[in-house]
């Protein structure tokens, strides 16, 4: 069968779109794209279904609002509710998060895998050796390399200098980028197509091998055939939000859910799967983070350089990782404190600001459920211990900034001054309550909600990715992670899907 990408506009006016294949994959992010890459390469007939649109490189916008509208879930407004509100950032377009993330590549830490093996039922079907082989293959295909110094710009260079001054280890970030043009526009979608997002390689590769991709189509549930997963049904939506035709896909061999740790559990619930364990939607974890703006005498020009080109895992065992974050001007401005002329005088120094953050390997568990409006309802709050890690992480990020020569730092923490000039001022953060509402954090790395376990009492999914309750139904995304990892997850999500897909292909 000839492959292609079918968008909502292509099928408007039709009542029904039908297809049949060996494997239907729901979601086109790192998990779904890796599965499509492996399964189509193995000669299987693959269909992919994506809720979001196809955003061609030529249509990637410069401004953040247009990018949010086109490529981000809920236009970037999705939040987890808990003690406060935590923005939960996800991509929603062909390629999932990969077109709009920082392209940061990390391999799963081996000691995390050892914990999964020891405590969560991961076995030889998902061994570290198999994952390593997948990492090696993916590194080559996605041109993974450390960010070259020529693409650092001021934001990344200053973090490198600050870390060196303190004697803390740091490194240029490994990224899936081929010839970075230093536009700092990862979040809008790389305008020069240098970022190796999956809409540019694995997905077109699968299409070239005959896969069909249905974009603008939200899968509503998994169908059953003879006691097995037999396919999916969904509904197209036009750019104006109007309902389009129904999609019915029959899958002879397997249904793969790779729709993320938020959407996959909702699909499992809607399909009546996973109730035996009582764990669907539970054990939601993340890497919440927060950041500071540091003001230097010299120009930083945050918009000139790799978006996220330098990082340190020096304190990884203390559950924190620091990285540069080249914020778009709209987001940077919103983080500058004050109103009126105070704001105006501060933002006039925008060219002199660097932006760095800390992500926390949080111990907190949350929950994903379906809201009364039909979308996800996410509950998540950092624990007091997580908050203490966040405080220490922010203190250390500020220390890096001052070591790099920052004149002042804008910490963005309620209860602290708008601007600080000494470490003594920053250390006052430890006197504040362990309350997440004092910080402006986000969470972009999401895990759990359909976890691997030894059996159907301790998990939703077996180590080969197959559902304990419905044969032929697989989950190949971050939902299966029994724990978070402390490093950026795209590569691990893809590697797990890669190995699971190899097992499925036989």
């Amino acid at each position: 069968m000839s492959g292609g990408i079918v968008e909502g506009a292509h099928v408007s006016g039709r009542a029904l779109v039908e297809d049949a294949c060996d494997v239907v994959i729901v979601g086109t992010g790192p998990g779904g794209a890796a599965a499509a890459r492996v399964l189509s390469q193995a000669g299987l007939d693959v269909v992919m279904v994506e809720e979001g649109p196809l955003v061609p490189v030529s249509e990637r916008p410069r401004d953040m609002w247009s990018a949010f509208a086109r490529s981000w879930r809920s236009m970037g407004f999705q939040v987890a509710r808990g003690k406060g509100f935590t923005p939960i950032l996800q991509g929603r377009c062909v390629g999932g998060g990969s077109p709009i993330n920082g392209a940061i590549i990390h391999r799963m830490p081996e000691e995390i895998h050892a914990t999964w093996t020891r405590e969560h039922g991961v076995d030889e079907r998902l061994s570290y050796a198999r994952l390593t082989a997948a990492f090696d293959a993916m590194d080559a295909e996605l041109r993974v390399a450390p960010t070259p110094e020529s693409a650092w710009g001021g934001n990344n260079r200053l973090m490198a200098e600050g870390l060196a001054a303190l004697g803390w280890s740091g490194a240029p970030t490994n990224r899936a980028v081929d010839g970075c043009e230093s536009t700092a526009r990862c979040a809008q979608g790389c305008p020069g197509a240098r970022k190796q997002s999956l809409d540019l390689n694995w997905i077109p590769g699968a299409v070239a091998r005959g896969a069909r991709v249905y974009a603008d189509c939200r899968v509503e549930r998994v169908t059953r055939e003879g006691g097995r997963a037999g396919g999916v049904v969904g509904r197209f939506r036009g750019a104006d939000g109007r309902k389009g035709p129904r999609l019915v896909v029959k899958a002879r061999r397997a249904v793969v859910l790779a729709a993320s740790a938020i959407q996959t559990p909702l699909l499992l619930m809607a399909s009546g799967v996973g109730g035996r364990s009582g764990l669907v939607g539970r054990r939601f974890q993340g890497h919440p983070g927060s950041g500071v703006l540091a003001v230097f005498d010299e120009p930083v020009a945050i918009w000139d350089g790799a978006t996220q080109g330098y990082e340190t895992k020096h304190f990884w065992h203390e559950r924190m990782k620091f990285e540069t974050v080249g914020l778009p001007p709209e987001i940077m401005a919103s983080r500058v404190p004050g109103f009126g002329k105070a704001f105006v005088s501060r933002i006039a120094e925008g060219k002199h600001m660097a932006s760095w953050g800390t992500q926390v390997r949080a111990e907190a568990h949350g929950r994903v459920r379906r809201s009364i409006l039909g979308g996800p309802s996410i509950r998540f709050s950092m624990t007091p211990a997580d908050i203490r890690v966040l405080k220490l992480g922010l203190e250390r990020v500020v220390e890096i900034a001052f070591a790099a020569g920052a004149r002042e730092v804008l910490p963005g923490i309620h209860g602290m001054p708008d601007a600080i000039t000494t470490m003594e001022q920053m250390r006052a953060v430890h006197g504040l309550p362990d309350d997440p509402r004092l910080f402006h954090g986000i969470c972009a790395h999401l895990f759990g909600t359909a976890t691997i376990g030894r059996d159907d009492k301790t998990g939703v999914i077996a180590a080969d990715g197959q559902s304990y309750e419905l044969p032929g139904l697989y989950v190949m995304d971050a939902s299966v992670f029994p724990t978070n990892m402390g490093v950026n997850p795209q590569h691990t999500i893809a590697a797990i899907a890669w190995v699971m897909a190899e097992n499925l292909a036989g």
Partner: protein, 140 residues
């Protein structure tokens, strides 16, 4: 769910207080610039329900806030510019989380529109060309 004309007028007053324009010795582009107004058109057309609802609630609470929390017989728009800024500062320093998030939410919306405009980006040192004008900011 569109804002009423009154809500739109209130919102632009809040934006103008947050970022005063060149006429009052402020930023190169004012918070109630025509480009920001066009951004609100786009926001109303495309935003999901919940954030738009949050925006409207924030507009009402900030506009009527001085009557409630400052015991003044004036809405936000009727305060002197310095008092408007003082009120926003006080709100963002509130001990009540939901209250201090109101100006944060409004400022986030404002910055999303304002700092996408080439003139605003140039004013903070970003090299841009006129062609980079977002689609929503172009005259229809």
């Amino acid at each position: 769910m569109r804002m009423t004309r009154l809500e739109r007028r209130w919102l632009l007053r809040i934006f103008a207080a947050m970022v005063p324009g060149p006429a009052s010795g402020g930023f190169a582009v004012a918070g109630d610039d025509v480009g920001v107004a066009r951004f609100l058109d786009d926001l109303e057309a495309r935003s999901p329900l919940e954030p738009l609802l949050g925006l409207r609630i924030a507009v009402w609470m900030v506009t009527l806030g001085p009557l409630v929390w400052r015991l003044k017989l004036r809405t936000f728009g009727r305060l002197a510019p310095d008092d408007q800024v003082a009120f926003l500062d006080a709100l963002s320093a509130s001990r009540v989380y939901v209250l201090r998030e109101l100006p944060v939410l409004l400022k986030t919306f404002l910055c999303m529109g304002l700092f996408a405009l080439p003139a605003a980006q140039r004013a903070i040192g970003l090299p841009v060309s006129d062609e980079a004008m977002p689609r929503w900011a172009r005259p229809s």
